[in-house]
């Protein structure tokens, strides 16, 4: 297994008592797979990501990468947050090399390595522009390249396309699949969009709230490459219906509580 979580749970101590954000979650991600976590807001998706990225110490459990315990270690997996967080005072190229720069690459080498990728992935000619002049989709591409270009085999994507309009979003999804095929990285993707999860993933983990937990793991048997029209096939809609039912099951519980 590339990435493995063993009974990871997170409990926050609050003034009024403790709050279990995440009940023990176990997860195994094979190398090179694309897996998604879907669930309503408050199901602990982002908390789980923070634990994997080393930004949030888990209350119990361990995170393993290639068998090595990386619990609480930062800089071992690529992590892309919801916002693109491009630094406005850096050019696109200098934003993309940020991860490599932090990890100690010499500036010349990291730039030389990044340039061909910018060309290949639709940012050619924009290297020396500043982020403020880019469209939302381009900013997101730059942020994703920044995440991909650090030397880690696992990348975590936290609703990266959540803020984009539907058309840009569809294009970005196809673009992401192309990147994933090229780089061969292991991807963990968080979204609350069921269509997006099915279209992109090999495996979907459906989560529920109070406490945050995984209620079901679903394999997506659709073959690749997947055309955009796949969302109208019966296999796709059956999976979608199943996911909707699972997510709705969780809603009444929430309302009762």
């Amino acid at each position: 297994m590339k990435l493995r979580l063993d009974d990871v749970s997170v409990t926050f101590q609050l003034p009024g008592g403790s709050h279990q954000a995440l009940s023990p979650v176990s997860l195994a991600v094979p190398e090179g797979r694309f897996i998604s976590l879907i669930g309503p807001s408050g199901c602990g998706k982002s908390t789980l990501f923070n634990v994997i990225a080393g930004l949030q110490p888990p209350t119990t459990g361990q995170v393993r990468l290639d068998g090595e315990d990386i619990t609480g270690a930062i800089g071992r997996v690529g992590y892309m947050l919801q916002k693109d967080l491009l630094l406005p005072w850096r050019t696109v190229l200098d934003n993309v090399v940020l991860g490599m720069e932090i990890q100690g690459w010499p500036a010349k080498e990291s730039r030389a390595r990044a340039r061909p990728y910018l060309h290949r992935y639709g940012l050619g000619g924009f290297e020396d522009r500043f982020p403020a002049t880019l469209s939302g989709g381009m900013r997101q591409r730059a942020a994703l390249l920044r995440t991909l270009l650090i030397d880690s085999d696992v990348i975590l994507l936290d609703e990266p396309f959540g803020a984009l309009d539907a058309q840009t979003r569809a294009r970005m999804q196809e673009w992401l699949l192309q990147l994933w095929a090229d780089f061969g990285k292991t991807v963990v993707f968080v979204t609350h969009d069921i269509d997006e999860a099915i279209f992109l993933s090999d495996t979907i983990h459906v989560m529920a709230t109070r406490p945050g937990r995984i209620i079901e793991t679903i394999d997506v048997p659709l073959s690749r490459p997947r055309p955009a029209s796949i969302s109208t096939t019966s296999g796709f809609t059956a999976l979608k219906q199943h996911c909707i039912e699972l997510l709705h099951q969780d809603q009444p519980l929430e309302d009762a509580a």
Binding site: G75, R76, Y79, L85, I102, F130, I150
Partner: protein
């Protein structure tokens, strides 16, 4: 007018309230103001200045204003020539200028450094907060006589007063910038494996730069005030010293001359700092 309103009323038969019907309505339009052309504007501004100066001169000559206390434009003009040709003009200007610039640079950079350093420990930031507020609420100029005693009557004391005035503003503004630093941006850096020093150098400092730049224009004025007040108390040269000295010896024309030169210096420095600010903002934010 009435013809128009009746023709409309013929179609929609609504009984009119009596009070409203009795009051004739004047048609209203949007107020319109046509802007003067630039030459016209400049001409009018110059005219205002000329009539003010003329009124002053006439009032002084007709003894409406006592020229002993008020002086008069003609005397000021001839004093201006004397001040620059035979007087200490250049020495005074360079002295005040040097004090101001040194105090400005010292106070702004020390304050910014202190404000930025508070990022490193939220505990220390909280511990120091009352002292910063306390130092802010003291009128720093009240400390000027003390600073003169400590640093002497030369350059150092004026620089110290100007720095004290500007430093507190810088500290507080920079610390506001530190508190506004995007937490998600910090998380991004840490997720990439950054050290605290890397986050500070590559993220916190650039994030705070717009805040620091925004202080510059305020601080150049404060620094000049500090330098001039220092010169009032004790100095050998400087525009503040000239104003004070001339006032004590009832050379009112010289007071005005020094004030005019001081105002020009102030405007020149303000314009220069504004231009610097524009360049820096463009270089830093790129938006």
């Amino acid at each position: 007018m009435s013809g128009q309103s009746t023709s409309a009323d013929d179609f929609i038969e609504v009984p009119k309230p009596k009070a409203q019907a009795a009051r004739p309505r004047r048609p209203r339009r949007l107020p319109k103001e046509v802007l003067w052309s630039l030459p016209k504007l400049i001409l009018i501004q110059a005219g205002l200045f000329a009539s003010l100066v003329a009124a002053w001169e006439i009032a002084a000559r007709t003894r409406l204003l006592d020229p002993f206390f008020w002086s008069q434009p003609s005397a000021i003009a001839s004093m201006l020539v004397v001040f620059f040709s035979e007087g200490t003009a250049w020495l005074d200007i360079t002295t005040t200028f040097r004090e101001t610039i040194l105090g400005f640079v010292l106070g702004t950079s020390l304050g910014a450094a202190l404000g930025l350093s508070l990022w490193w420990s939220r505990n220390w930031a909280r511990a120091l907060q009352p002292y910063i507020i306390c130092f802010e609420s003291i009128p720093k100029l009240a400390l000027a006589p003390l600073i003169i005693l400590i640093f002497g009557i030369g350059l150092a004391s004026k620089v110290a007063i100007a720095a004290a005035l500007t430093m507190v503003v810088s500290t507080i503004t920079t610390y506001s910038g530190v508190r506004a630093v995007d937490r998600d941006g910090e998380r991004l850096f840490y997720s990439l494996g950054a050290s605290r020093w890397q986050v500070f150098r590559k993220f916190v400092i650039p994030s705070c730069l717009p805040w620091i730049i925004s202080i510059l224009r305020v601080n150049i004025g404060l620094a000049l005030t500090g330098a001039v007040v220092g010169e009032f108390i004790a100095a050998e040269h400087g525009l503040g010293r000239t104003i004070f000295y001339a006032g004590q010896t009832y050379e009112i024309a010289l007071v005005w001359v020094a004030v005019i030169v001081l105002a020009s210096l102030s405007i020149a420095m303000y314009v220069a700092v504004s231009a610097l600010e524009k360049v820096l903002v463009r270089g830093v934010t790129h938006s």
